[in-house]
Amino acid sequence: MAEKNVVSTGSTGEARPANGFDYAPAPESRSIVDIKASYGLFVNGEFVDGGGKAFKTINPATEEVLAEVAEADAADVDAAVKAARRAYDRVWSKLSGRERAKYLYRIARIIQERSRELAVLESIDNGKPIKESRDVDVPIVAAHFFYYAGWADKLEYSGYGGGNPQPLGVAGQVIPWNFPLLMLAWKIAPALACGNTVVLKPAETTPLTALLFAEICQQADLPAGVVNIITGAGETGRALVSHPDVDKVAFTGSTEVGKAIARAVAGTNKKLTLELGGKAANIVFDDAPIDQAVEGIVDGIFFNQGHVCCAGSRLLVQESIAEELLGRLKRRMSTLRVGDPLDKNTDIGAINSAEQLERIRELSAVGDAEGAERWSPPCELPQHGFWFPPTIFTGVSQAHRIAREEIFGPVLSVLTFRTPAEAVEKANNTPYGLSAGVWTDKGSRILKIANELRAGVVWANTFNKFDPTSPFGGYKESGHGREGGRHGLEGYLR
């Protein structure tokens, strides 16, 4: 084999462009969405003015103001809860499960019918790539309504409520900005299926798809007051969860706010579910399917700009393959396309808000200051809007703040380990316990590690997979209760 395979077959003389295969812009059309200049609150089946000071929601990719949105004050919250109570007493609790199911199926269908519109609107308001809103968020939203629709008339088989489960009443639900519509579905679908009515507050930076969902409720002829959407910030949320006529509080968001809510509902009969922060370990053993592990790491931390509570933000890699794995990871990161969320080829979109961008910058600066080594692939960030490049920190130890605190951005901390026991110990060495990943081709090791990880979701040889049938939720300070699957019913039944 003296001859090296470097001889050109010389089939053509044409030169390749110096920059190779440049993908031309492939923007998804914005014309499908109709954003109004201002939005009211959706209470008792109608859009009404809010008593608070209206606020603006912006496109984080451009900083363009999209709309003005009403802020619900305490009186508005009260009106919404009253509407929900009335709908519960007069209509929804009297409806058979079979009839409730049909409303939920209708909603699922309308979501499918208007899926592209929802996806585009989600990307505009949130900054996430259209690829994700189109292929992940919105399809799972529809699936979630489909799944729970089917439960509505089968609750006596759920195992909850001693064979005769009953709804709780009015659910007050507060959701975050990272998956605005998906979190809405996770909250509303099981609540309605179980016979509750809801008052839901979307995050102040991403209210638009929830307000479009309100229109979908109208199209579905959902009885007035069964779903109420109130917009606002922390104060509105506080008023909702502490409202005395709310029977159930469901919250997804930061651990700090989750604790405040847990204190607020203490001593009441309110049932509480909390989906909070995380600092998930993604453990890669030396016998991992390496190329898929690299994909899993990338999905784990760069999916949705890292604005994911279950993000695999701590890579724990076996020391013997650390160098090779990092080389592959960096090469892969160099192919990530950061930019216009509406471009169909964008992998990483905009950071959701100036505030979040500031936090990511701040914690990254702490990483630098603590002596970790920062690396990002060369990438041009747009002039306007909020952007942060995909970033990894190597040389991180458990003592670093970037290994302990949730950054909630596209920033990965890389740590190494030597033995399975050390990997588990480091993985569990956190107050959080939402998710974890483990990569190895050895089956018995997967089962052992999965057993030992103190986390509510363990992805083995995969990461960041979601499904309506699969319960999701954390151990320890990552929250209480589960959403999704049969388990997701428990929080809405007595």
Binding site: P17, F21, A24, A26, D291, Q292, D441, T462
Partner: protein, 337 residues
């Protein structure tokens, strides 16, 4: 970075940090045992993850200038193929003419990379193609099953080379591979490569066909890729086109990972050829996206990536015309060969 995990149970893995260095793998291939240890020490491929990655790359949206670039590149990468029992000299001449001038109405349309025929048709193809630059590729070694004695396979190869083949597409002995006789497969590839030598001219280039539809697992595809690369294949090729499934996106992706990693380890570049089942421009573009993002731009060249196809070419031409004229074209406007 290296193509091998440091945890590989063999000590034959290339040393860490040997990026682009000429890694001497003769120790690996010196015995059945060492070769097996090496191949089985390659990192596993998780099928679901690999499928998902290939599918995700398939959702890239290639428009306007990028699409025009991709279509012309794809045409230049086609090994225009006829491998039928009913092949005649007339059929092969027509095919060769089309390979040189795929769109007679448009002189800017590039030629294909090669025509691919059975060995007995090589001379005919060679005469028609002349000095056009379009290569003649011949399937040899008892294609497609490979079920013949080694000397017959070698004679088949030499015949094709003598008749003027620039490229030989051989099939591996899948039976030997699946029963774990890796060294036999290796030695056969080495022997065929030697048979590609031309006494008074450049050797024919060797493409090694795995028939991935028969190997079934991606682990096998990865092992076959390394085995063929170490044996000196210039190209690794998915399929004969006679077995379903033929080329698929994930299988091609696994092979592109292998050539990428092999170059990292040895400095040697090997080409990849998916063959069979690629019929539309849309499919071809998905393959090019995978080449671009998995192996890198160096492979975006007919020297390093080919499509084994027949009907694909007309679809590429129709799309090309659509790009040029702005209206959809129809099959009546392209030659059927």
């Amino acid at each position: 970075m290296l193509g091998l995990m440091a945890s590989s149970p063999t000590t034959d893995a290339p040393p860490t940090g040997a990026r682009g260095q000429g890694w001497d793998y003769s120790d690996v291939t010196r015995s059945e045992a060492t070769l097996r240890r090496f191949l089985h020490g390659l990192p596993g491929v998780d099928q679901v993850g690999a499928d998902a990655r290939a599918a995700a790359l398939g959702t890239r949206s290639i428009k306007t200038t990028a699409k025009a670039f991709a279509i012309d590149l794809a045409i230049r990468m086609v090994d225009l193929t006829t491998l039928e029992g009913a092949d005649t000299a007339g059929k092969v001449r027509a095919l060769a003419s089309k390979a040189m001038r795929p769109d007679p109405s448009d002189p800017t349309c590039p030629a294909t990379a090669a025509v691919c025929v059975y060995p007995d048709m090589v001379a005919t193809a060679r005469r028609t193609l002349g000095t056009s630059g379009v290569h003649v590729a011949a399937v040899a070694t008892a294609f497609p099953s490979g079920r013949a004695a080694l000397d017959i396979k070698l004679a088949d190869t030499r015949d094709a080379v003598e008749a003027g083949a620039d490229e030989i597409d051989m099939v591996i002995d899948r039976g030997a591979f699946l029963s774990g006789r890796y060294l036999q497969v290796f030695e056969e590839i080495v022997a065929v490569r030697e048979a590609c030598a031309r006494p008074n001219g450049p050797s024919a280039h060797l493409k090694v066909i795995f028939e991935t539809g028969e190997l079934q697992t991606y682990d096998n595809v990865r092992r076959a890729s390394w085995l063929a690369m170490m044996a000196g294949g210039h190209f690794i090729k998915t399929s004969t086109g006679k077995v379903q499934p033929a080329a698929t996106l994930p299988v091609t992706m696994i092979m592109l990972e292998a050539v990428r990693d092999f170059r990292e380890a040895t400095g040697q570049m090997v080409g990849v050829k998916p063959a069979g089942g690629i019929r539309t421009s849309k499919d071809a573009i998905k393959y090019l996206v995978i080449v671009n993002e998995v192996a890198g731009t160096d492979w975006l060249d007919p020297d390093w990536f080919r499509f084994g196809a027949s009907t694909l070419l007309n679809d590429l031409l129709m799309q090309r015309t659509k790009m040029r004229t702005g209206r959809y074209s129809g099959p009546d406007y392209f030659t059927l060969d």
